[in-house]
């Protein structure tokens, strides 16, 4: 492939990648893929893609002018492999052809779910005990139940958490998980945490429905670990949060 053509395609691909990712920025969809704190870094990267595209467009123009003056083509000596271009098309194709979706129930079955886990170093944990029980999110409860030796004080506390419905065969009838994914870095390391919900109307909720569960907390044993359970008083359907994941 002639160098100038290669450069043109490079520039176009970078521009397309820039536009695609800008779309994700404006749709607020970057948070479906990466932890919030990398968003700034990614945005800088996206802008840099545009700078590179501009640089390549300039190079193409200069090369054209050079060729007109010299009537001599530099293209012969290092025409790079066009495979590079084809492969750079892959993220664009995957991003455009496959409908975007944050990690959901299907991901839980592939990645597993925990009801009681450290997920963060113990030293930054003390704050949790002071927060109002209704302010705690799913991750907070899961951490609390991991670190606390004496769970009795939590029994009967009021909980109000938002998450999506995940159904697991190991649960009995009238139960499901209200679940959230935890992202340290990107979707690749996503890890689901969940709280068992006890509700008479459990079967009416489709999996992956986003809900807000309010009720009182109890302790059950799941997978041999003491885990939180919410006896639901109300369950309301809520829209998917802008920020579908929680961060450790």
């Amino acid at each position: 492939m002639p160098q100038r053509l290669y450069r043109s395609f490079q520039a176009l691909l970078l521009l397309a990648l820039f536009l695609f990712l800008m779309g994700k920025v404006f749709n607020n969809q970057l948070l479906w893929y990466i932890n919030q704190r990398f968003v700034i870094l990614t945005q800088i990267g996206i802008v840099f893609l545009a700078i590179l595209a501009q640089r390549l467009f300039t190079e193409v123009r200069l090369a054209r002018e050079r060729n007109q003056v010299e009537e001599h083509d530099h293209d012969h000596d290092h025409a790079p492999s066009p495979v590079n271009l084809w492969i750079m098309l892959i993220p664009l194709l995957i991003g455009i052809l496959i409908p975007a979706k944050p990690l959901d129930s299907a991901a839980v079955s592939a990645k597993g779910l925990t009801t009681s886990s450290a997920l963060i170093s113990s030293n930054s944990n003390s704050r949790l005990f002071e927060t109002e029980s209704e302010q705690r999110n799913i991750l907070d409860w899961v951490k609390l139940f991991y670190f606390e030796k004496d769970l009795n004080p939590f029994i009967g506390q009021k909980a109000s958490v938002v998450g999506f419905v995940y159904r697991d065969e190991s649960l009995s009838e009238g139960q499901f998980f209200v679940s959230r994914f935890i992202l340290s870095c990107c979707a690749a390391d996503g890890y689901a945490v969940g709280i068992i919900v006890n509700a008479p109307q459990a079967d009416t909720f489709e999996k992956d429905t986003w809900i807000k569960v309010t009720g009182s907390v109890d302790v059950v044993s799941f997978d041999g670990k003491p885990s939180p359970l919410i006896r639901a008083e109300t369950i309301e359907i809520v829209p998917q949060p802008d920020q579908p994941y929680l961060y450790p």
């Binding site: 490079q10 691909l13 970078l14 479906w32 893929y33 990466i34 932890n35 990398f38 870094l41 990614t42 990267g45 840099f48 893609l49 700078i51 590179l52 640089r55 390549l56 000596d77 290092h78 025409a79 790079p80 492999s81 066009p82 495979v83 590079n84 271009l85 492969i87 750079m88 892959i90 993220p91 995957i94 991003g95 496959i98 409908p99 975007a100 979706k101 990690l103 959901d104 129930s105 299907a106 991901a107 079955s109 592939a110 990645k111 597993g112 886990s117 450290a118 997920l119 963060i120 170093s121 030293n123 991991y146 935890i182 340290s184 870095c185 990107c186 979707a187 690749a188 390391d189 450790p248």
Partner: protein
């Protein structure tokens, strides 16, 4: 670069893609049939994980290739020779410590190392830099301490990474001729036009650096993309839970964590937080081996290594760190459980 090598490399890439496809088919036939019912949701998962890795790694790769471009345009060969000894031991040690100057992670370090080789960096120094820099740099040290505190996990991680990097660097010192180890840079921009680099103005050099950056982003990005596809495919079709389920025992737990390090293919700047989620399930030694080995070898970096090195050196680059991380993890499991 001739068209024959171009087509050979093209066909090799096609073979990779076919292998990937076959792998997915094979895996799909192993796992339960209920999988096919929700193939669409699997595809969604694949896309999300793939784009997750790609979007997260993209700025780091750009940063690495940008520094590589700047090194090519601005760093003087003589300056490099003055600072870095030709003798293997000092070279390897200097190389291992260079991460403090070039804070890159595992995606960025590979194009940068190649560029530094191009500028005359001795082999032991480059290899030690390649393996140590993704851990021994301010960003990663800080994120590890944020996850585990300023404690034994951090010190052992840094210490072991430096040790392994220096040892592998010294192994490579026996090779006198770098061309036996390194592939030539196929896409060196305008070597024939800009032979008198010192006569270029600052602006011209910057322009040249940007062009190199773009070229390397395509060249290395290709392996990032293939690696991310492979990692996303493995994650989609091998339930992580089954891997974790076999993860008990002194040796197996380390092996599982090493396998996870390869499959997850996460950036070294954040892997400490991921490792944290295994505390409680896995022993100190297993998690340590994950933190030491992960930055050196994973799917995407292996593919990128193959672009820079010949096949045999890549085998060394993978096997020696693997065995040493395994030994270290097992030693901790046995002696300091």
């Amino acid at each position: 670069m001739t068209s024959t090598t171009a087509s050979r490399r093209a066909s090799r890439t096609v073979i990779w893609l076919i292998l990937l496809f076959v792998l997915i088919i094979v895996l799909a036939s192993i796992v339960p049939s209920s999988l096919f019912l929700n193939l669409v949701s699997r595809l969604n998962l694949f896309a999300t994980v793939f784009l997750g890795i790609f979007i997260e790694a993209m700025p780091y790769l750009l940063f690495g290739t940008l520094i590589s471009g700047l090194v090519e345009a601005f760093l003087d060969r003589d300056l490099m020779a003055r600072f870095i000894s030709k003798r293997p031991v000092p070279a390897a040690i200097t190389g291992a410590l260079m991460g403090l100057v070039f804070p890159v992670c595992e995606c960025g370090v590979i194009p940068l190392t190649r560029r530094l080789f191009h500028k005359g960096l001795p082999l032991p120094a480059g290899i030690a830099f390649l393996l140590a820099a993704p851990v021994f740099n301010p960003i990663v040290i800080f994120s590890t301490s944020a996850a585990f505190g300023w404690g034994p996990m951090l010190w052992w991680r840094v210490g072991l990474s430096l040790l392994i990097a220096i040892i592998v660097g010294l192994v490579f010192a026996v090779e006198q001729d770098p061309s036996n180890v390194l592939r030539p840079i196929l896409l060196s921009v305008h070597d024939h036009e800009h032979t008198h680099n010192e006569t270029l103005s600052f602006g011209d050099k910057l322009q040249q650096a940007l062009l190199i950056c773009a070229d390397e982003f395509f060249e290395m990005g290709r392996y990032l993309i293939l690696g991310a596809m492979l990692a996303a495919g493995l994650q989609t079709f091998i339930p992580q839970t089954s891997l974790l389920a076999i993860g008990s025992g002194q040796i197996f737990s380390v092996l599982v964590m090493l396998a996870l390090a390869i499959i997850l293919s996460i950036c070294s700047t954040v892997d400490a937080f991921v490792a944290l989620s295994f505390v409680g399930t896995f022993s100190f030694g297993s998690i340590l081996s994950f933190l030491v080995f992960g930055p050196m070898v994973d799917i995407k970096s292996t593919l990128m290594y193959l672009q820079v090195f010949h096949r045999k050196p890549v085998a060394y680059l993978i096997l020696i760190p693997f065995l040493m991380s395994l030994l270290a993890g097992m030693a901790f499991n046995y002696f300091a459980p």
